[in-house]
Amino acid sequence: MSTANQNGQARPKLELDPIVIRKARSLARKAGAPVVKIAKTHTTVSVERAVLRLAGLSGADHEGEPWVNHLVDAVRDEVGLELGVTTPVFDALRRGEAPDLLTLAQKAAAGSVSFRLPQGREGVAAQRLALRSVRPGMARIDRNRATRDRLIKRHGNPRQRPWIYLIVATGDIYEDIPQAQTAAREGADIIAVIRSTGQSLLDFVPEGATREGYAGTYATQENFRLMRAALDDVSREVGRYIRLVNYASGLCMPEIATLAGLERLDMMLNDSMYGILFRDINPIRTFVDQRFSRQIHARAGIIINTGEDNYLTTADAVDAAHTVTVSQLMNEYFAKEAGLADWQLGLGHAFEISPEIPDSFRMELAQALLARQLFPDAPLKWMPPTKHMTGDIFRGYLLDGFFNLVGAMTGQDILLVGMMTEAVVTPFLSDRDLALQNVRYVLNAAGGLAEDFHPPRDGFIQNRARQVLSEAVDLLEKIVGDTGEPGSVPLLQAISDGTFGLMKRPADAGKGRDGVIRCAPGYDNPAGTLLATARTEGGVQK
């Protein structure tokens, strides 16, 4: 993935103090490291289910409850998950309780299997079998990555920057497919299939092709597969590789990340704190799930998209600008720790300053340039106005034009196309077409402006960017200094004090908390073992 450097940045547009930038990163590391330590010593039901999925277990019972859920629950009830699900599961297979994983899960659901924690040589043998069983899943992820590289080579990347990102959301995968293909023909480079409302709070991944959703389409393995195949067809037709996006965030981050790797999705929404702050998911659950899912993304060559836009829709975009920068820095820290490379960090930010405020456009430029300069090698994701879209579609169309202009002038990499019907209706076919015309006009007319545009030294834009950065450093200092009781983790303390956004989220509350397990000595996760080793095959993507 190429970067802003391509846009001819001879000298930096913002004169930021490198010492302040270094300080910001070091504070982010300081805030994040104790949380990573917790993530490494805990597992969750979803991490364990993801491992079973890698081992090839899929499908659901007649009521739609996945077999991975049945098996993990059964093992947990009987022997606990402190040593990981795979050791007792593969021990049961070795003892001949069932011929394969699926049968074992079915028998476990009926309560007719007994699990145990194998000791000594039997334990080692179970772990060895587990590793052998997970390997094909990991190899498939590696193969998919190589296939993507090959297809990109064959069809090519989009010719312009930013890449054009468009959303489809009908609820019915078979309606989504033609809409996505039409969007690609009209110029979209990236297709996001928005999820059904509330899927992030389901503690299981639905199964099969789905035709009914609630303001979106369920993320399922089969839906992923169908859409990826359809986009492969249209990639061939339009002569560029069309990327597919879905959403990992929520209670099933590790599993959805795994399915995305298995079905060659190209990007995933994966934010380190979204679930905690905006969905009231337990903080520990989120950080453990997030780390595993990002390790999988790193392996699969998937670009993550982070959700900083959410901060701005719930707080004032001028006052809260620095929370976006803080979140970007935290997302960067957690992502790199999990093994993601710079080219995989689609850090988010959004055009959400009220158009009624004087100099709103200049402040947007300052913020977008700040992100560009702090993360020069990350494919930044630039998101359109939603909060100040009022239903006046004509005004909204103008606002989207200015949003596109900021994207062009500041060298953003992924541009989520704004719809003038935002907050009014699900976009009409014509709304999408008009939105794409808007993007094309701006990129065509002003795409080269990034080269000419250099805000004057110590002018409004430079000063605003410096102000936001220094407020971000202040907030990070506050977080790192937030030590409650001795031994408490500052970041968790800050989240529980409501330092981020408006919400207070204590570490011992929130959804999915029951699904967090502290690992005992001897915990084994064969997927984790494989993730720590080199890829079996596949190209290096730049």
Binding site: E186, G198, L277, R279, D280, T386, T390, F428
Partner: protein
């Protein structure tokens, strides 16, 4: 929000007088019969855009004009036609619409409460209670579908509106799914809840009715008369107007937004005190 429809208009199918006689004696009084305004009184000019599922050619343009005529736009001026993909054409049409609007026939349906912005709701709660309004929410019984309650409570919200957690003057306690009624009552008492929100999606064998009546009865038993928190139930299958039968204060149906619930809460707390709440 400006798109919110607070009233509905009934089109005048048979205007009483096609040519509105200008009121002679009182020129100040607005006419009852009006037409759209382009740049001259009475020109009837409108602008519409639409897409037809046909490729762009002469026939498509004819089809657009035919639709315009059937919509009452005559003469219609086709100012823009553009192919979208292979099978669709987008049109913009200007023209004079032949319909008249009789203002006397306009019926405005009022909600029993005014829709407030988050800011207005917060201000009203502050003024009225001098403390935060406490809302306890849950899915009760065996219902695990928290989509509804989460859409209303989670800060993420629904339909572009932030959930109740976003309101600085509302304290939200979301108990989650499959909460037992006694637990809910205990939690409501512990939190000194002003309102209890319950979501019921599963309707097999009228479970939603059964669970709701059980819940309202438990609250009446646990609280002294007149002190029961506002009981609000939401779900796609509740019969509107059956509040009394279920023993609750308000039912919300499909598509309800957090803003509506917040506005109702403000309305209800400002009613309390003036009219005593009665629970049969």
């Amino acid at each position: 929000m400006s798109t919110r429809d607070t009233g509905s208009q009934k089109a005048a199918s048979e205007p009483s007088s096609p040519t509105a006689p200008p009121a002679k004696d009182a020129p100040q009084i607005l006419p009852d019969i009006i037409r759209p305004y382009g740049d001259t009184t009475g020109d009837g000019m409108v602008q519409v855009s639409f897409t037809l599922p046909v490729p762009h050619d002469k026939r498509a343009e004819g089809a657009a004009l035919q639709l315009a005529a059937k919509m009452g736009v005559a003469p219609a001026l086709l100012v823009h036609a553009k192919a979208m993909g292979s099978g669709f054409t987008f049109f913009i049409v200007y023209g004079s619409v032949s319909h008249l609007v009789d203002l006397r026939d306009v019926v405005v349906i009022e909600r029993e409460f005014a829709l407030l912005s988050a800011k207005e709701a917060n201000a009203a709660i502050k003024k009225r209670l001098h403390r935060k309004l406490v809302v306890v929410g849950a899915c009760i019984g065996n219902d695990a579908h928290t989509v509804g309650i989460d859409a209303i409570l989670n800060i993420k919200g629904f339909a572009g509106e932030k959930g109740l957690e976003y309101y600085s003057e509302i304290k939200v306690v979301n108990c989650g799914a499959q909460v037992l009624v006694p637990e809910l009552v205990a939690r409501a008492r512990a939190e000194k809840a002003d309102a209890v929100l319950v979501s019921q999606v599963v309707t097999q064998k009228d479970r939603h009715i059964h669970n709701t009546t059980q819940m309202s009865a438990a609250f009446r038993e646990a609280y002294p008369a007149g002190k029961v928190p506002l009981l609000i139930v939401g779900g796609p299958r509740f019969e509107q107007g059956s509040e009394e039968r279920l023993g609750v204060d308000r039912i919300f149906g499909k598509g309800t937004t957090p803003g509506e619930v917040a506005s109702y809460l403000v309305h209800a707390i400002s009613q309390a005190g003036s009219t005593t709440k009665e629970h049969p």
